[in-house]
């Protein structure tokens, strides 16, 4: 395992990020079709996972286990796309609304949006190399 300190609890990786939903079918369509993520073939009817390349997104339904639904806060998941303007245009065509204009931090662009359950997402593209010259 690389990149982890010796101290602490021996965390190895993030197995999944839980994405809460009140409507699993609608969420599955959004992540699978609108965002175009690959569905993990080990998914079951009641546990659906999508792969982003480096980390798994798992749809969870808190209300089915008697817990209160609360969405992911503002901009929780930063989704890397190669062309932010194009990705934004395609999502708009699919009816997704963005909050505010695309921002430019000086090293990256970001565009804030939500999934149908109100979970905070953003399209993200870092265009500048890091200070040591390496590319993102």
């Amino acid at each position: 395992v690389t990149g982890l300190a010796e101290a602490g609890i021996g965390a190895q990786r993030v197995d999944f990020i839980a994405v809460p939903t009140r409507d699993r079918e609608q969420a599955a369509r959004f992540y699978g079709e609108t965002l175009g993520l690959q569905k993990n073939p080990n998914s079951t009817e009641r546990w659906i996972e999508f792969e982003t390349g480096n980390v798994t997104l798992a749809l969870v339904t808190p209300e089915e286990i008697g817990k209160e639904f609360a969405p992911l806060p503002f901009g929780t998941i930063a989704i890397r796309v190669p062309d932010l303007d194009e990705a934004k245009a395609r999502l708009r065509q699919a009816g997704v609304e963005f909050e505010g204009e695309t921002w430019d931090s000086g090293v990256c662009n970001g565009a804030i949006f939500k999934d149908p359950d109100g979970n905070g997402l953003l399209l993200h593209h870092r265009y500048a190399p890091y200070r040591d010259g390496t590319q993102p």
């Binding site: 839980a18 980390v55 190669p82």
Partner: protein, 130 residues
């Protein structure tokens, strides 16, 4: 329609107090701080496959809201051992559960963000509602 999504660059972890959060993620959880972290109020930690961006909403013009329950499932080799280490460090951890394919135990960071210690012990192909 395809966005050509490449990866998740980071997961934003909201904090009320950045110093308290840095101690927790860096020292107690033992995650490596990204030396390229851009600012004092945006500190990145590496969890091997994804970056956790620990940041303070109140210095980014919005209000703090914690992550919902169990958002981040942190893989450990042994949930019971990791739970014991956290408890020894003064972090309360819920009882460990067993779904039939994996172990889990939930705790909260100092800002109240719920995190799950997670270890899947069963092979895939007989995944129940983990």
């Amino acid at each position: 329609l395809t966005l050509a999504i490449e990866r998740v660059d980071y997961i934003r972890v909201p904090a009320r107090d950045i110093e308290e959060a840095k101690h927790f993620y860096g020292e107690i959880l033992g995650l490596r701080q990204n030396p390229k972290s851009p600012a004092d109020d945006w500190v990145e930690y590496e969890a091997a496959n994804v970056t956790l961006a620990v940041m303070t909403p109140h210095t980014h013009d919005y209000e703090f809201t914690p992550l919902p329950p169990g958002t981040i499932a942190l893989r450990v080799a042994d949930v019971a051992a990791a739970r014991a280490e956290l408890e020894a460090a003064g972090v309360p951890v819920n009882d460990m559960w067993d779904s039939g394919v994996c172990h889990g135990a939930g705790f909260r960071d100092p800002s109240g963000n719920p995190i799950l210690l997670h270890h899947r012990y069963a092979p895939y192909g007989r995944r129940e509602d983990a």
